[in-house]
Amino acid sequence: MRIVVQKLPFDSGVELNAFTAKQSNMGAIVSFTGVVRDFPNGGLQYMDIEHYAGMTEKALEAIATDAMSRWDLGDVLVIHRYGMLTPQEPIMMVATASKHRKDAFEAADFLMDFLKSRAPFWKKEQTSASHEWVASKQDDEDALKRW
């Protein structure tokens, strides 16, 4: 299990390969990469991500540990950035390794649902004129009930 909270950019492809290389006889590797989206008509200068240092690492570890106990997984990777990100930059990534594709998919889906609403990150969208905190979505809260 590897949990990383960092300000610096990371390379999804390099991380995916490093994660895959560490596994022993896992037939299924699933990855999710979250990328900063611009507004439909553009204008996003940057996304500023605030987090609760200390609690963040604990919360991510708890979520990953929960996933490991619910599914037959060989390994879990979580990387999440904070600070100022520009459109098209990767924000975060999760990866799961399992013998079976179903476990790898479900666990990655689960990790994402909990990262969205239970990891202490807050996104702020900055344009040249103003900034606005991204509102949480009822859909994201509802998604947790699936598990």
């Binding site: 979250g34 604990k58 975060m92 990262l115 969205k116 202490p120 990150f121 702020k124 509102a135």
Partner: protein, 81 residues
């Protein structure tokens, strides 16, 4: 007790962190004390349904006890991922 604020709660109150001298037995009692302080606190805590709280870095309810707690944080619903 250390009290932390994040995102727009931090912006409304105007600081990320402060040490509060309190006898509050629950989170709700702490909120009431803070609300009574100044307008900016009353404003930040005006709608508790828009707030989340963590006691010693674990998510908690507003009626959670504060006995032995060293750190309480207030923030809006999280938007990670």
């Amino acid at each position: 007790m250390e009290v932390l604020y994040f995102a727009w709660v931090r912006e409304r109150i105007g600081l990320p962190k402060e040490t509060v001298d309190t006898q509050a037995l629950t989170v709700m009692e702490l909120v009431d004390e803070l609300r009574a302080r100044e307008e900016r606190y009353a404003l930040a805590f005006s709608d508790l349904s828009a707030l989340r709280v963590a006691v010693d870095q674990d998510l908690a309810d507003f009626d959670a006890p504060l006995k032995g707690a060293r750190e309480v944080a207030f923030f809006p619903p999280m938007t990670g991922g």
